[in-house]
C-alpha cells in the first residue's frame, strides 16, 4: 500500500513538474503572466511529492517489503536498521530518486530566497529547473523504477546490501555528492533565464555565484568522503584511483571552481559574461555526463551497478535536450553582450583568465582520458584498452603547479593593472622561509627528501604565504588584520585547503611504505622503523556476518598499540570482505589488511604506512568550509 502511495506521488511529481516546466509556453496562448503566480507553488508541490515518495521508499525498506524488486535486491532482514535506511540509495533506482530529491531541495531553496524578486526571472529559472526535474523523474519511472513489484511470488528474504556499502561514510557520501551534482543545475537555469530575459549583468553574476560555490563545496565533501571511504574500506590503502567515476565527479568540480572564479570578474568588472554562461552550461553538462558515466555501465569502474543500454540512450537524450538546446539558445540570444573594460597582463582579470583556462583545459583533458577507451574501441574495431593512472598523474602535475603559482600571487594583483609590481620579492621571503623550515621538518621526520616532496612543500609555502602574508602587510593594527581575515575567510580557507591537500598528496605519494608479507603467529616484520607483530587470530560472529580477526601489535619509538584487521563473511550474500585496521596518528597512518591463511597459524598480511594522508581530507574540508562561508555571505547580501 505504502509502495503504491510512493509510486503515485512520483507520478504526481512527474505531471506537476511537466506543467511547471513548460508553463512559460502558456504565455503564447493566454498572453498574460498568470504562470508567474503558480510556478512557485507548483515547484514546491513537486518537492513535497518527491519527499513523500522518498519517505515511502525508506519506510518500505525499514519494514522489509521484499515484494518490491529494488528492496529485495538491496536489503535483507539481518541488515542493521540504520543500513536498511541507507540502503534506500544503495543502488541505481533509489539513488536516482535521491538525486531528484536533492535537485528539488535546490529549486525550493532558490524559490524561497528569491520569491520577492523579479517575477519573470524567477519564474523562468524555476521552469528550467522543473524541466530538468521532469526529465529525471521520467527517466526513473520509465527505465529504473524503484517501486516496481515482484509479483506474484514474493521472496521471503532479500539479497542484501553490498557489504562494502554497509558503512557510515557510504551512507552520507551519495547525498553530498548528489547535492553537488544537482546544485550545478541552478547556475545553469539562471544562465538560461538571464539569456532569455536579456539580463546578463552584475546582478545575475552575484546571484549565480553562491549556487556555484555551494555545488562546489558539496562536490568537495562528496569526493573527499568517497576517497576516505575507498581508503579504509577497499583495503588497498589507496585514496584516489583515477577511476572513471571519480573522474566523473572531479571534472564538474574543476569546472564549478572555474565558474565561481569567472563569476567574480563578471560581477566586479562586467566582463567574461559569455564565458561565465558557457561555463555554467559546461558544468551542468559535466554533471549529467557524470551521472551518465556512473549509471550506464559503459566503462569499467568499481562503481558500476548495472549494464543497461536503454538507460544510456535515455540519459543521452536528456543530455542532448538540455545541453544542445541551451547552446542553441545561447548562440541566438547572446547577440554581442556589451561591457568591456580593459586590463593588462599584470591585472587581476588576467589572473582569473589564466585560472579559468588552466582549470577548464585540465577538466577537458581528464574527461578525454576517461572517455578515450570508448573512442579507441570505436575506432579500432572493438579492441579494448584502459588508460592507466600515470596518464592523469603526468597531466595534473604541471596544471597543479601553475594553479598554485596563481593562488600565491592572486591577492597581490589589482583590477585592470597592478601598479606596484613588487609582490614577487615580498612573497618570496616569506614563502622561502616557510619552505626551508618545512623542508627541514620533513627531512627530520623521514630522513630523506625527494624532488616531488620539494615541489609539494614549495607549492604549500607559496600558497600559504601568498594568502596570509598579504593580509598582514595590508594592516597596520591587529584590529585591522582581524577584519581583513574575517572578510576574506572563505577565500583564505579554501586556498589554504588546497595547500594542505597538495602537501598531503606530495608526501603520501613519496613516503608511503607498503609490503605484502607472510607471518607466523608470534612473528614480527619491520617496515621502515615500525615493527608489526602478529599476536593472535580468533573467530567470532556479529549481527549479519562471521569474521576472523588478527591482533597486530605496532611498535615504534613512543608508540605501542594493537589493531585488529578482520576478514568478514556476510551470511546472507556469502560474500567475503576484508576490513582493514588503521591506527591514525597526526603524522602517519598504520594500515594493516588481513589476507588469508596459507599454512598452520600462518597468514598473509598487507602492511602499510601512510604519512600525512589525513592532511588530504583535512585540506578538502577547509576548501568546502571556504565555499560554504563565502556563499553564505553572498546569500545574506542578496
Amino acid at each position: 500500500m505504502i509502495v503504491e502511495i510512493g509510486h503515485i506521488f512520483l507520478i504526481g511529481a512527474l505531471v506537476v513538474s511537466f506543467i511547471a516546466g513548460f508553463s512559460p509556453l502558456l504565455r503564447f496562448l493566454t498572453k498574460d503572466n498568470f504562470y508567474y503566480m503558480v510556478i512557485g507553488p507548483m515547484n514546491n508541490l513537486v518537492c513535497l511529492f518527491i519527499f513523500l515518495s522518498l519517505i515511502s521508499l525508506i519506510y518500505s525498506f525499514l519494514v522489509d517489503d521484499f515484494s518490491v524488486a529494488y528492496i529485495a535486491n538491496n536489503s535483507n532482514t539481518l541488515l542493521p536498521t540504520y543500513y536498511k535506511f541507507a540502503a534506500t540509495w544503495g543502488a541505481h533506482e533509489g539513488s536516482l530518486l535521491l538525486w531528484i530529491f536533492c535537485l528539488c531541495l535546490w529549486s525550493t531553496t532558490y524559490f524561497f530566497i528569491n520569491r520577492q524578486k523579479d517575477e519573470e526571472f524567477v519564474a523562468l529559472t524555476l521552469s528550467v529547473l522543473n524541466q530538468i526535474i521532469f526529465a529525471f523523474i521520467a527517466f526513473t519511472i520509465f527505465t529504473s523504477n524503484p517501486f516496481e513489484r515482484i509479483l506474484p511470488v514474493v521472496p521471503i528474504e532479500g539479497a542484501d546490501l553490498n557489504p562494502l556499502l554497509q558503512d557510515f561514510a557510504f551512507t552520507i557520501h551519495p547525498p553530498l555528492l548528489y547535492l553537488g551534482y544537482s546544485g550545478l543545475a541552478v547556475p545553469f537555469a539562471l544562465s538560461l533565464s538571464a539569456l532569455i530575459s536579456k539580463k546578463i549583468d552584475s546582478v545575475w553574476a552575484r546571484e549565480a555565484r553562491p549556487w556555484s560555490l555551494l555545488s562546489s563545496g558539496f562536490l568537495t565533501l562528496g569526493i573527499a568522503l568517497g576517497s576516505w571511504w575507498a581508503y579504509y574500506e577497499l583495503g588497498w590503502g589507496g585514496w584516489w584511483f583515477w577511476d572513471p567515476v571519480e573522474n566523473a565527479a572531479f571534472v564538474p568540480w574543476l569546472i564549478s571552481v572555474a565558474m565561481f572564479h569567472s563569476l567574480i570578474v563578471t560581477e566586479k568588472r562586467g566582463i567574461y559574461k559569455n564565458w561565465s554562461i558557457l561555463l555554467s552550461i559546461l558544468a551542468f553538462a559535466a554533471s549529467i555526463l557524470g551521472t551518465f558515466l556512473v549509471r550506464s555501465g559503459i566503462l569499467t569502474s568499481v562503481h558500476v551497478f548495472a549494464l543497461d543500454p536503454e538507460r544510456g540512450v535515455f540519459i543521452l537524450a536528456i543530455f542532448s535536450y538540455f545541453i544542445l538546446g541551451s547552446l542553441i539558445f545561447y548562440s541566438f540570444l547572446n547577440n554581442k553582450l556589451p561591457g568591456r573594460s580593459t586590463y593588462n597582463l599584470t591585472s587581476k582579470e588576467f589572473g582569473f583568465l589564466l585560472n579559468n583556462i588552466l582549470l577548464v583545459i585540465l577538466a577537458l583533458s581528464i574527461m578525454f582520458g576517461t572517455l578515450f577507451p570508448l573512442i579507441y574501441e570505436a575506432l579500432n574495431d572493438g579492441d579494448q584498452i584502459s588508460v592507466g593512472a600515470p596518464y592523469y598523474e603526468i597531466l595534473i602535475l604541471p596544471f597543479a603547479l601553475a594553479l598554485s603559482i596563481l593562488q600565491g600571487v592572486g591577492l597581490y594583483l589589482s583590477w585592470s593593472s597592478t601598479k606596484q609590481f613588487n609582490f614577487l620579492n615580498r612573497v618570496a621571503i616569506e614563502s622561502f622561509s616557510i619552505f626551508v623550515i618545512l623542508s627541514l621538518l620533513v627531512f627530520f621526520i623521514f630522513g630523506t627528501l625527494s624532488w616531488g616532496t620539494f615541489l609539494a612543500i614549495a607549492m604549500f609555502s607559496w600558497i600559504f604565504s601568498g594568502n596570509l602574508v598579504d593580509a598582514v602587510y595590508q594592516s597596520t593594527q591587529l584590529q585591522e588584520l582581524k577584519s581583513i581575515l574575517i572578510k576574506r575567510f572563505g577565500m583564505i580557507s579554501a586556498h589554504l585547503g588546497t595547500a594542505f591537500l597538495i602537501l598531503g598528496v606530495g608526501i603520501v605519494t613519496t613516503f608511503s611504505l607498503e609490503r605484502d608479507v607472510v607471518l607466523q603467529k608470534g612473528e614480527s616484520y619491520k617496515l621502515g622503523s615500525t615493527h608489526f607483530i602478529f599476536k593472535e587470530i580468533q573467530e567470532a560472529k556479529r549481527l549479519n556476518y562471521s569474521f576472523q580477526s588478527a591482533d597486530i601489535e605496532i611498535r615504534e619509538e613512543g608508540l605501542i598499540d594493537q589493531i585488529s584487521p578482520e576478514k568478514r563473511n556476510y551470511l546472507s550474500s556469502n560474500q567475503v570482505m576484508t576490513e582493514a585496521a588503521i591506527k591514525p596518528t597526526l603524522l602517519q597512518d598504520y594500515y594493516v589488511t588481513l589476507g588469508e591463511q596459507v599454512g598452520d597459524g600462518t597468514w598473509t598480511f598487507k602492511l602499510q604506512i601512510k604519512p600525512f594522508i589525513r592532511w588530504i581530507w583535512f585540506g578538502a574540508i577547509l576548501i568546502a568550509l571556504g565555499t560554504f562561508v563565502s556563499s553564505y555571505r553572498y546569500v545574506k547580501r542578496l
Binding site: 582520458g369 589488511t593 598480511f605
Partner: protein
C-alpha cells in the same frame, strides 16, 4: 596596438599555450599508459612482446587455483571457454577473487607463455563482470 586588441591577443595566446601543453601531455600520457586488453584466445593468436604491459581477463577455471604454502604466490588459470591462460601472482588477492569469478589482471607475459600479474582485479559486486570479460565470454559462448 589598441588596448582591446592587445587584450584579445593575450587571451588567444594563453589559450593556445594552455592547449598546446595539454595536448602534448595528453599524447605523451596516452602513448605511455595505454594497456591493451587481451582474452586468452587473442594471446594464442598474437605474439606479444615480453616487455609490454597488457591486461588480460576471463573466468577463473574451477580447481585451478594453486596457493603455495607459507608464501604469497598464487597461480591460477583463466579461460574464455576456448583457450586457457596460466597466471601467477605474488601478493594478496582481492576479496571477490574466487573460482568462476570474472577477473582482469594487469602484467606481462613471459617467454613460456605464463602471465606474470602485478595487479589482479575482481570487481566489487558478486553479480558484476568487468565489461571486457563479459564481452569476451559472450563472444566465445
Amino acid at each position: 596596438m589598441h588596448p582591446i586588441r592587445k587584450q584579445r591577443l593575450y587571451v588567444v595566446l594563453s589559450i593556445l599555450l594552455g592547449t598546446a601543453v595539454a595536448a602534448f601531455l595528453v599524447f605523451k600520457g596516452l602513448s605511455e599508459n595505454i594497456n591493451l586488453f587481451y582474452s586468452p584466445s587473442d594471446l594464442k593468436k598474437e605474439k606479444i612482446s615480453v616487455d609490454n604491459q597488457i591486461r588480460v581477463g576471463g573466468m577463473v577455471k574451477k580447481d585451478s587455483i594453486n596457493k603455495e604454502n607459507n608464501s604469497l604466490r598464487t597461480s591460477f588459470v583463466i579461460t574464455d571457454f576456448e583457450e586457457d591462460l596460466l597466471i601467477t601472482y605474488e601478493g594478496i588477492l582481492p576479496d571477490l577473487f574466487s573460482e568462476e569469478a570474472g577477473i582482469v589482471a594487469k602484467g606481462k607475459i613471459n617467454e613460456e607463455g605464463t602471465f606474470i600479474a602485478n595487479e589482479v582485479l575482481a570487481k566489487h559486486d558478486e553479480n558484476y563482470m568487468p565489461p571486457e570479460v563479459a564481452k569476451t565470454l559472450k563472444d566465445k559462448k
